[in-house]
Amino acid sequence: MRGGRVALDNVTVQVARGAITGLLGPSGCGKTTLLRSIVGTQIVAGGSVMVLGSPAGSPELRHRVGYVTQDPTIYPDLRVVDNVRYFAALSGTDTHDVDEAISAVGMDDHRKALATNLSGGQRTRVSLACALVAHPDLLVLDEPTVGLDPVLRVELWDRFDRLARSGTTLVVSSHVMDEADHCEDLLLMRDGRVLAHSTPARLREDTGCQSLEEAFLFIIRRGTAARTA
């Protein structure tokens, strides 16, 4: 339940460790609510959410789960480096990690800039750096690539790939279908329900569509046809 209406209905999914799971669907379909439930900031009205073996939001998970909200949540009146340093201190990592996290999001040139003077996309990157610096086992990213330039988007997805290969579990939401190919696992959502839980390859095979955009449309049509039949 979110804002007095049912945001997620009968969602049962399992997310693989050490892989990137993409959460795709139109805005308002419940992506953020699902992510918030995983992080443990959402009061879940019914059902259970287990993360890395503990109930979502348990104190022992606070070291292990990183969350990047859709709107950048950083302190605008602090410099980039101070923002990242603060989150590093909260999670107990070193200054060395701070520089690394800032480089990872391509903000080296803006280390000393006040966050308020940055563009929207740059702020999103700083927000991401604040999560990366904690080296979480599970990284939950809500539309991390919105408004980023294409080069940086590719770089970030490479980075996510590397993180996944080194054992980090990533759950990434997006409404850009061409990003789905970076994910090993796909969750297609609509109106608070999971329409499909698949892989990009299997989705193409099942639907016979080449682009994932078309495949998604195909599944929606099939779903509504089944319901009206």
């Binding site: 804002g3 606070r62 949540t73 603060y86 909260l90 904690a134």
Partner: protein, 257 residues
């Protein structure tokens, strides 16, 4: 795990102070405004002070200056804290830092510490100006005046943190100032002595922290030694501050609908 706790607290205190220090205009206003207004009062009372008064009675400036030294930290810290915290709630940074290992009490203690440091600087400057330049004279030690001013500031921080939970916007947060502070100032005995208030208003006055803060300042103004009433009053104000901080902690929820 427990070793991390002071780190989160210290990092948060430093972060809040850094944010404050980055805002030069606010720092200037926090530091200078009380001193300027007390100076204004000094000139306001300069002719009145020449009027003969019964021997032993404090000068009107002394009285008013003591009141201002107590009231300023309360108002300023209430405002700063409620708006800063409200901002942190709305911007989503509060939700985010509560997903980290930071404990809620560490966060509140950090806010309390950071703003109390600001308040201490403010109170010290205002007291230095009042005692040295404007000739404020108290029977008790000026140190106690500073102490009470800082305790008032902590009370303001506690009330501000609590009220921020009930404000959805910064606009609403500012409106809480007259609602929370004005009745306390009206009923604390500055305008009408508490003994002359109707019974039911005396009862209300008895449960408002500013009544005790002002009484403590008046005790320090009139007696060379720290009286037991002053000690009790300071303890009560500290108690109110801790209560407000505790209630504020209850409003910091990690999970929201």
């Amino acid at each position: 795990m427990s070793a991390l706790t002071p780190r989160g607290y210290l990092a948060t205190t430093a972060r809040i102070l850094r944010q404050l220090a980055g805002d030069h205009r606010s720092v200037a206003m926090i530091l200078v405004a009380p001193s300027l207004i007390i100076t204004l009062m000094y000139f306001m009372f300069s002719d009145v002070s020449e009027v003969p008064r019964p021997p032993g009675a404090p000068s009107p400036f002394n009285n008013a200056c003591l009141i201002m030294l107590g009231v300023f930290p309360l108002i300023v810290m209430f405002l700063i804290t409620s708006i800063t915290m409200q901002r942190e709630r709305v911007s989503g940074t509060l939700e985010r830092i509560l997903t980290t290992p930071l404990r809620r009490l560490d966060l509140l203690a950090a806010y309390g510490t950071a703003f109390s440091i600001a308040a201490a600087a403010q109170a010290t400057l205002a007291c230095v100006v009042s005692f040295w330049l404007l000739g404020l004279d108290t029977a008790g030690s000026p140190v106690w005046v500073v102490v009470i001013a800082i305790v008032n500031a902590v009370l303001g921080v506690g009330l501000g943190l609590l009220c921020s939970a009930f404000a959805r916007t910064e606009f609403q947060a500012v409106q809480f100032m007259p609602l929370i502070i004005a009745p306390q100032l009206l009923l604390c005995g500055i305008i009408v002595p508490r003994a002359l208030l109707p019974d039911w208003l005396q009862w209300i006055s008895n449960v408002l922290p500013a009544s005790y803060a002002l009484e403590a300042l008046q005790q320090v103004g009139a007696h060379p030694e720290l009286t037991s009433i002053a000690v009790r009053d300071i303890a009560i104000v500290v108690g109110f501050a801790v209560l407000a901080l505790g209630l504020a902690a209850a409003t910091l929820r990690r999970r929201t609908p």
